[in-house]
Amino acid sequence: MCADQLIDIKDKIWNGSINIKLEYDIGEKTFDYIFVAWRLSYFSLYFEQIARHFEYFEDGISKRPLWLQHDKHPVEWHLPIGLLYDTLASSQSVNKTKGNVWKLQLKTSEYPMDKLIPFLKHKPDETIDFEHEIKQCIVNRLKQSCFSLNGSSKKIMQLSEKDSNDLWTAIRTHDLSLFSSVNHKIIPRESEIQKIPFVIYIPGYPLLQVPVPLKTNERPTLSDILSQNEVISEINSQSIQWVPFVHGLNIECMLNVDILTVWYLFRYLDNFIYLSITLK
């Protein structure tokens, strides 16, 4: 793969977006909110603008924790939107309308505390500070991936205050050049990478993580890594056909590509790779 092609793929992944239609019931009426979300972003980063919109129809909604529901499944706002779409919606034609819109229900009561991370912080005007919680989550994800890659989280802890702020601003505002300018300071040189942060996501289940050490003579392929996982082994032992998905792409053709190349291409903003498994 030449450098131009790589840049083209990275660019397409960065600019990937999803059409979303939220439905919110007030009394017997249903109100909609339609927007385009970045695949690499997080729902909680959109909650403030969503709450502001529905304030026109219902007072005080900004003071209540929002959450989204897909077919009775609470949508995890701390995971990338693209990943959630690939696992929850893409296999379900029933929830898609013409024009490929992902329909979700917006809820403002009965927050499922046992399934979603709660929003705890309020702003001085008593509205919920949605950004605070997602920032905490992503910073901790970045620290965790930094630890896996480097063997410690020193590199991220040693970022200057400006770099730390820039990194968050880049994630929040979807600014690729700003993001890359700081993120490369966390990533070690290729020869120094200890472990690849790798997650298999199946909705409703704990995140399945596979340790991917690179300090071996022969660099493992994606297929080698997947076969180490109990879930994948179980699928394979039953001769069930499956397809790995990342960023909405079927990457079956990359099963024999070395894991580092796959990671460089497809890592998310928190430097993890999240893979979803779909049965054929």
């Binding site: 905490q136 989280s153 472990k195 704990p206 995140l207």
Partner: protein, 141 residues
């Protein structure tokens, strides 16, 4: 079967048997989407993460700052338990009124509630233990 089993601790704490009631059955949410569209995956994940495939992980709980310690500090826990189970256990043991406890691995990052203890052990163990530091407030920003 109890979820958490204490183990003799090298730092001379007592090793009385500990149980965390209500936590013995890990309540992993199994949404209807999987039943409806990917019934096979539901079955397979249940098989693969079932108790028969689980192993015991040694956890050492380490308080940060003025947060009280628990006795004993070392427990054995099933690898398919999640961080949210451990947090519930700590909240109960420490009788935390606001139900808030912050848990850290390697004195560095907070794991997500839906991460599995076995996976974190494989990635971040020190010796043969996964060290979990905990605090009433945010300890590492």
């Amino acid at each position: 079967m109890s979820l958490l089993h204490s183990e003799s601790d090298t730092s001379s704490e007592s090793s009385t048997q500990n149980t965390a009631s209500n936590s013995s059955k890990e309540s992993v949410h199994r949404p209807s989407i999987i039943q409806n569209t990917e019934g096979d995956i539901k079955h397979i994940v249940s098989q693969a993460t079932s108790d028969k495939n689980a192993f015991k992980v040694t956890i050492r709980f380490q308080p940060i700052g003025s947060t009280p310690s628990i006795t004993p500090r070392v427990f054995k826990i099933s690898s398919n338990s999640t961080i949210s189970t451990l947090k519930r256990f700590l909240i109960k043991r420490l009788k935390v009124k606001n139900n808030l406890i912050y848990v850290y691995i390697q004195n560095s990052f907070q794991p997500l509630p839906d991460e599995m203890v076995g996976d974190l052990y494989n990635l971040f163990k020190v010796g043969n233990e996964l060290i979990l530091s905990y605090c009433h407030t945010v300890a590492f920003g």
